[in-house]
Amino acid sequence: METKATVIRDENSETAELRINMGPQHPATHGVFRMVLTLDGERVVTVEPHIGYLHRGSEKLTEGENFQQITTLFDRLDYISNFNNEWVYVRTVERAMEVEIPERAEFIRIILGELNRIASHFLFYGTYGLDIGAMNPVMIGFRERERIQALFEGVSGARMMHNYFRVGGVKEDLPDGFVPAINALLEHLKKGYEDAKNILTESEIFIERTAGIGALDAERTLDYGVTGPVLRAAGVDYDIRKADPYSMYSDLDFSVPLGSHGDCYDRYMVRMLEIEQSIKIIEQCIRRLPDGPIQGKVSRILRPPEGDFFVHGENPRGDLGVYLVSTGGTVRPYRLKIRGPSFSNLMALSSMMEGAYLADSTVILGSLDIVLGEVDR
């Protein structure tokens, strides 16, 4: 459990710190992330994160696209939870244009968004298992995510880059036979969740590897602007779905799992319990899914009024915020700033990692569950 050990040194011997370069091509950096570690033996002394290898200038690109086209860019930010990204963006424009969204569209969005959260957390589960050295989790994680993506394909026509949410509603109505399909899917997911839990949650080696590793207390976590499961693992009750409810979340019954120690194990547990909660939310939504239109009254050419709008939503990784500056009457945003949760979460990395073992560095990085598409934008 103890993370700090005394380093015994022979005063006469000469030692030098070892600087190793992890990434951008490294199996455990989750994409093109690079960190320069200074090691004292097996122990990490300092960490220098380097990002930007996936910088595509998304913010700049939005200034050249119509409001309808920007959804496609948001699909490619956090490419694990595409629906959630699109959702925050369309909510921003809806907020600016004061569009009313039909209830059915809201429920469709919640179902898809929560499913995407489950898919994202399953992917986290898999890669996290792999970061720690276990092989089976990644297969279970991908197996379940694959099932969810097959459903997404039926709904939106694409497995990842959906472009399905529209300002004012969604693109098409749900396909025939969606409700039986999603009920069957939820049964599968529950079984898969049990499998997943059996392999890692109570495994002694897993607890040994994660409990007490990379711990940050609530105050410091918040100081870095960390959000999402990482913040909730530190015990801060901040879930935008509860704290600043959007869509129909205020009507739905679910709880926010909270950790207490803020270490890697708590982050893992928070995510796993969020899968349970998301399943609960989806079940409620299916029960309450009303008939009716799926598209509010919006003109086909979007011209938000003048002003600046900041809208945020709870992504699987945390608080995704979109800051839209509109000069009014134009079909393009003047400026669109994206506040990615992974970007802020990654800032806390170096203070989590100092003093940990080299082997823990991948465990800590994995527990943040970053997506580089969103960090670099």
Binding site: M1, A5, L18, R19, I20, H26, P27, A28, L39, E42, G129, L130, D131, I132, G133, A134, M135, N136, P137, M139, I140, R143, I199, L200, T201, E202, S203, E204, I205, F206, I207, E208, R209, A211, G259, S260, H261, Y265, D266, M269, Y357, L358, A359, D360, S361, T362
Partner: protein, 375 residues
């Protein structure tokens, strides 16, 4: 020795060598297939029927690949390191018996020879890590040096306890063939299960397999000591890894599972290699199974596990076996009774250890329960 002797030795060595190479191919194929099944996959299925030629295709690819040496590496040691690892593992097979009399060199100090050669591969690892001029390789070799040396002790202590116990049956207790003969009545696994478990743990660690694959740790140091190697040299490392696994399983089946002995093995000599290889295969399958769901330990936890748990237990086990053998020999108990006493003692100590382990687990789980409630 005349020329025909040399030719026959050469022929035997040639057959042995290729036999091992072939079995490595089979084991790698088997690992991929078994792991795939444990993960609800199919595994290799395209090359040949059921994909049986997949490892062969991989081997051919490795041979044809460009052989790269990093610029500032130490040339001689870099090229020598694969050989240093490769050779001792193959030299081990000289003394390993496939059946009664079916052994190349049936030397008296077989166990001694085995434990000496097992320790050699660490030299190759360090050489490879040092010469490649890569920090990842260096870390990997440092890790493997620490790990291999730590786990050599329990391994050798459990081997020694087998030799000690074999004393009761034979005058030649360090000879592998006579150890197998000693198990004709009752395989040693029933007499000293504790030593068997220790041997398995030590063997997993020696061959650097999950949960002890810290020297390789693909997610941290990307392959460890041989990260800079490519082509056939990398293949040589991989080959010796898997030969190591086969050797460990083979040794376990010789020392604990009764080797070639089995039903009718005396009457039909051709059954003997079959028995020993199926026992070996069983142990290898066990290693595959363990590999599938378990995470990897951290280096400090691994060392703590070795020095705080495994090594004291090995010593205790060794002392226990020697006491029982010594006293039993002195008061000239029948062998069956000695076996019974030792087996019972072993069982009791295993149960005690199991409780120790679970109480440790309770402590560990207390953290979990306190945080996340009764699950």
């Amino acid at each position: 020795m005349n020329i025909s002797d040399y030719i026959s030795i050469f022929a035997i060595v040639f057959v042995m060598f290729n036999g091992i190479l072939g079995s490595v191919l089979v084991v790698i194929y088997g690992e991929r297939k078994v792991l795939a099944r444990l993960q609800q996959r199919i595994g290799p299925s395209r090359t040949g029927p059921w994909g049986i030629l997949q490892t062969l295709a991989d081997a051919v690819k490795l041979v044809l690949k460009e052989d790269i040496r990093p610029q500032n590496s130490d040339r001689i040691i870099f090229y020598l390191a694969p050989l240093i690892i490769f050779t001792p593992i193959f030299m081990l097979w000289v003394v390993l018996p496939f059946g009664s009399g079916l052994v190349l060199g049936d030397i008296d100090l077989g166990l001694f020879y085995v434990s000496a050669l097992l320790g050699l591969s660490v030299v190759g690892m360090v050489a490879a890590g040092w010469s490649s001029n890569s920090k990842y390789a260096m870390l990997g070799s440092a890790r493997s040096a620490a790990q291999l040396i730590s786990y050599e002790l329990p391994l050798i202590l459990s081997i020694l306890s087998v030799g000690l116990f074999a004393q009761l049956f034979t005058d030649n207790p360090f000879n592998l063939s006579s150890i197998v003969n000693a198990q004709a009545g009752l395989p040693f696994i029933f007499v000293m299960p504790l030593a068997f478990v220790l041997f398995l743990i030590g063997g997993l660690a020696e061959t650097a397999r999950i949960p002890f694959d810290i020297p390789h740790a693909d997610e941290e140091i990307v392959g460890g000591a041989f990260v800079e190697y490519s082509g056939i040299r990398w293949g040589a490392f991989q080959l010796s890894e898997y030969t190591g696994l086969i050797t460990m399983a083979f040794l376990a089946s010789i020392l604990f599972l009764g080797g070639w002995s089995g039903p009718f093995s005396d009457k039909f000599v051709w059954l003997q290699p079959f028995y020993i290889s199926s026992k070996t295969a069983f142990i290898i399958l066990l290693a595959f199974w363990i590999r599938a769901p378990l995470p990897r330990l951290r280096i400090d936890q691994l060392m703590a596990f070795a020095w705080k748990a495994i090594i004291p237990i090995s010593f205790a086990n060794f002392i226990l076996v020697s006491l029982v053998v010594f006293i039993g020999d002195r008061i000239s108990l029948p062998i069956f009774q000695i076996q019974l006493i030792l087996g019972l003692l072993n069982l009791i100590s295993m149960i005690a250890l199991a409780y120790l382990l679970t109480s440790r687990r309770k402590r560990r789980l207390a953290v979990y329960r306190e945080r996340w409630g009764e699950k």
